[in-house]
Symmetry: D2
Subunit: 106 residues, 4 copies
């Protein structure tokens, strides 16, 4: 139920500002990349990122990702769950344990 409400909050936020016109899938994909890089910037020269800024940049990535999920008629939760099943098959526990290698190199 919480997610339903957040979706409505985001929809209202965009609708009030008449921003749906800008939220094409292509523009949202660009926006996610842009915000991801701002998140990455927290770790540009060091492994330690400033906590408060990390939160804000991650929030921006998530916000656009939620908008895109909604735009393509899905939800973050269902997208993640569906993909996780496929990833679990590509990375069987016995093979993948303790390794960061790609599935085709396990």
């Amino acid at each position: 139920m919480a997610e339903q409400t957040l979706r409505d909050l985001l929809r209202a936020f965009a609708a009030e500002r008449e921003w749906e016109q800008f939220h094409t899938p292509a523009n949202l994909a660009k926006s996610i990349s842009i915000e991801s890089a701002e998140l990455l910037e927290c770790f540009q020269w060091s492994e330690e990122g400033d906590g408060e800024r990390v939160k804000e940049e991650l929030a921006d990535v998530l916000t656009y990702a939620y908008f895109l999920a909604d735009r393509i008629g899905s939800t973050p939760e269902s997208l993640i769950r569906e993909k996780l099943k496929k990833t679990a098959e590509k990375y069987p526990i016995e093979l993948a344990r303790g390794k960061s290698a790609k599935y085709d190199q396990l």
Copy 2:
């Protein structure tokens, strides 16, 4: 409750594979950028992305974003809600309506 359960699912997925050691904030930030670019690739030469691939790449972005939210002791929902309040202040409805300009150029 749904989100709680998804968090546990993701935690178990990483724990079974002993992948927590790789999931430092810096590595997760890199991973989010990498997956965002794969999402962007769906729109590299055209405004229309292949629906099925968009879903998968967006799922990858979201999955790493959820891992990072959990790693820094937060949740996607609280991060988004908190940031949305700030964004709403930077983009008052009257000023921002129908415009894609940055807040400092409104």
Copy 3:
């Protein structure tokens, strides 16, 4: 002279394939981001990237960056030189020495 020749090589490469139509500034900017992320992937879980792959991915970034420089009527060398002057002013040697901080935090 070397750069002139490389520019012609790249122009011919695109012209033969009739790819100029795809090389709008916006598409090239997306392509640079996409290839940058493939370069970043070499360092996703480790500080050490595979040398051969790093070369190839960096080459892809550079190729699209050269295409974009040409598309906007400039050259990589003049763009870099011009920007370097500005950066030198923002980061005076005495202030910036040995620090990775942003100029507004020096």
Copy 4:
């Protein structure tokens, strides 16, 4: 010869500021991604980017790419030329003409 001189200029710029310590391949790869996203931001909501800002952001991408090329003992020109040969083989003129499809879908 021009490129040789630019390389020396960049080396001196970093050396004077004692920044070589920050210019590990991994950090430079992150920096290229970060600057690429700032370039992409010029085209976030529109196909038309502001010309002056595009130049500056592209210059930043190129500068870090040049630093990385030098760091791995190569030059932008040789990297591009070498890769272009491989790309030409993957995209034969007859097959690729007028198409933006990936080589494995031609």
